[in-house]
Amino acid sequence: MSAATPTSTSAPEISRGQRVANWFTPKIALARIAWLRTILYLFVILDMHAFVRDTRLKGEHPGLYQPLFLARLFELPKPSVANTTTLYVVLIVFCLIGAANRMPRLAGWIVAPAFTWWVLIGMSDGKVDHDHLALVVALWVLPTVAPGTKHGTKGCTFQWRREVSPYADQTRSEAAGWAIRCVQISVIATYFLSAVAKLRGAGWTLGWPGSAILTWAIVRRPHPVGEWLLQYPWMLHTMQWAGIIGEFCSPVILWLKGRWQLLGALFFIGFHVANTAILMIHFLPTVVCWLAFAPLERIVPWFQRRRSVRRQAKGRSDRDAGEPEDQAEDSRQAKEQAGA
């Protein structure tokens, strides 16, 4: 490819391949990974109790168990009380450790396969949900990122002590960027591939948005908002068009920046709010992964700035009232940190 362009001989010129590679590995602050670890590992615990919550029940009554491809490929044992209970305990323990950003890689490498298995069992009764892709991908990529240490990122897997506050670590890392990018791609793929499935479902035609699919869904999941909408099929068709067009255009969000990206994210979160109102389908495991787009690494600096401003103001008024000097010292330190 590069041989065809003899003019680009200068050293800093990057090839198209490198540009693609760089797109997959943007430099993102390690703090965003730390926040995602906390949020997503806690979310897994919620998920196990609120969404994919029948895994242990399937261990008690494995009669309806029909193993999915991955379970057959790895010859995973049939769910039993013993193995689903073990899975449950292991997941709770290591999710809590990972959420605290202690030994995050070790915890992560345990949670990823354990939760994948948990969901595999949960979906092995003939009904598969499509809201877990981004979450499962996130769990597999998070442990590839080494946490920051005093001497850069050495990433000791077994380290319990946290040398630097992971939530404030502004060290930008390509490894972190790759993990974030993978989660972002999975979130977007969930929508884009839904549109592809709709084309396929209609025999590779654009028949879906004009069909009575939402009417069908509402009749089968009766719900006050939905039942009211049943009287207005044109509204349901409009929603179907908006949905499929939005899903098709979703990949654009990967290249949007700042406010425009936020707008794209809000569109899809609105889409989920509507789905929840009409069909009671919330897709929260995907929604939570939208946080991979959010600049979470700015939370701590923002908070420190606020605190230092407030302390400064307080220090000034305290000094006026004859308070000791050390508070002013505190605020000066906080300000220096915030500026770092």
Binding site: K27, L57, L64, W178
Partner: protein, 161 residues
Amino acid sequence: MAGVVTKQQERTGDVRLGRIGKGVRVLVALAGIGLLINGSVRASDDAWPFGPMSQYAGMIADDASITYTRITARTDAGTTVDVPLNIEGAGVARAEIEARTGEIVKDPSLLQAVADGWARKHPDKPKYVKLELIRDTTTLVDGRVVGDPVPEVLATWRVRR
């Protein structure tokens, strides 16, 4: 995978990936995208998590008949109730009942598990004495719901004590 990554500090403090670490990551990402596309184009739900995102992706014609399967129960308190088909209710999901309708019609004794599940989970509530598997059919006319659903009893089971 992380083991082969060589990292070097940049003057700005950015942590960059080595050639191998970056190459492997890009390949893994591309392979994942490939698997997802393959799943959406050709595979079924069986390929989870790489299967098609087919929830609500079907086509429903404007004159379709929409069926909805439910179970009603006569209780020992003399009331008739809809059996809650979820984990907290009778311990079995509606999707599972719908997937096995044919088997239940052939062998209604499979409904015994529903009554047992309810009794186990709700020992203080009235027991089920008779169960009916019912299919409601709603017919669309020009894409609109016209009239009430038509119920049809598919199977009846007198609960064993």
